[in-house]
Symmetry: C2
Subunit: 255 residues, 2 copies
């Protein structure tokens, strides 16, 4: 199974329109420095599974190979805007799983087109999609938000964004889980560089590292990166502990 990160940016993405910081200027010249809307893709022999739909070129990306299902973490525009470009397509319905959120975003739930919004996934209840075990775990954000535990063969990935810290129930659930097995790959919200006060809605590096140290995965990859975070990193090279790295768009991992 191939697990990749087609987008690793925050709501503003990188470059930020009109920003003249070092990071944004570099990203305009070097496409590899850009950050698209945050998402993940799981490719298995049974089909493709997309986590979040903020990319605006989903039709082109999945025209040929198809898309088995979409998992949404939450209904913020940077995580769902690509659905506007898919919904009036033709052919088989694409099931969309996510947290309970009666509002959804804009008119997506009212006019789903070929999208099939499934009944809200139950927290902590494992289900199977394309041969992958999927367990939704509640996160802490400004909208109802799920992270996902993803099991394939003997590998365990935890995809935890958008979030600021972890709700207590989720901490208890994960600690129980960790008695039995280790997380192979933790992908986590780290929108901001270290802050002096507790950040709102998203982890800063302090909180992200706190979660890393508490869950002790084999490897942690930081995502949902803002231009401020990139700027801080370029001024503080070698500041991340072992086993922690910052994601880049299109990073991939084989399991």
């Amino acid at each position: 199974m191939r697990f990749s990160l087609p987008g690793t940016g925050d709501v503003r993405q990188v470059p930020v329109f009109g920003c003249e910081c070092k990071v944004c200027c570099q990203a305009r010249v070097n496409v590899r420095r850009r950050r698209r809307p945050c998402c993940a893709l799981l490719e298995t022999p049974q089909g493709d599974l997309l986590i979040d739909a903020g990319l605006t070129d989903l039709a082109e990306r999945f025209e040929q190979k198809g898309l088995n299902a979409i998992l949404l973490t939450h209904y913020h525009v940077d995580h769902v805007q690509g659905l506007f470009h898919l919904r009036w397509g033709m052919g088989e319905k694409i099931p969309v799983y996510g947290p309970s959120d009666v509002q959804g975003y804009a008119d997506l739930l009212k006019h789903p087109g070929i999208l099939k919004f499934m009944p809200a996934a139950e927290p902590f209840q494992r289900f199977e999609l394309s041969g992958i075990g999927v367990t939704p775990i509640p996160l802490q954000h400004s909208k109802p938000t799920y992270g996902y535990l993803l099991e394939y063969n003997n590998s365990l990935i935890a995809y935890l964004t958008d979030t600021v810290g972890l709700p207590e129930q989720t901490q208890i659930f994960l600690k129980q889980l960790l008695k039995e097995r280790r997380i192979d790959l933790l992908v986590m919200d780290c929108s901001y560089p270290p802050q002096n006060t507790t950040p709102r809605n998203h982890n800063d590096l302090n909180m992200a590292l706190e979660i890393h140290h508490s869950l002790r995965p084999c490897r942690t990859v930081l995502t949902h990166i803002s231009h401020e975070m990139d700027l801080w990193l370029s001024d503080h090279p070698d500041s991340l502990p072992d086993h922690v790295q910052v994601a880049r768009d299109d990073d991939d991992f084989l399991f």
Copy 2:
């Protein structure tokens, strides 16, 4: 002044995701056959003016040259979705003009970022933007919608989409105007091939040609084209009267 059409597609665009019709298959192979979300761009020595914001790459397009203002015809997603990618930018505010629509689309009016939604433009009241005379004229659609008369030097462009026919007040206003001068370029909604019954929300070719014959512009360009319209055209070549043509993405006209 350069007047161009960066997008000429309907809400589904061309190719339609998953569609295997001749038109959509061709568009996948030949990018020049694709149709992006319907919009227009006016470039004058005083700056750039964009009509509708459905393109998702507005940040890249206008990063260097800037954007003086945006005129919205209406708040349907295929005409505003690009604003999601601009609003969290930095620098000068971008004024956005449009019809009165308290809902707007999604959370755009509530969280405008660098967009400055101006008080609703008054119907039939001319104002100036970047050296262009702009007169909003009400159209007939499923949301409050304006077409725009655009005057530059001695040239007159009428941009009329999305619409099905024209409201009576608008017809009266245009007939009065035509006593004094001719429309040089009429750009008009022609989403559908000829229908047997009156179409909903958008012109079919019958209604588009009826408006063309009634307004008698020097030239009419059909836009907001669906894959069905493209398919019909490929099966009925040479079926358009003189002075009427179908737009292609990036068509441009100099005034």
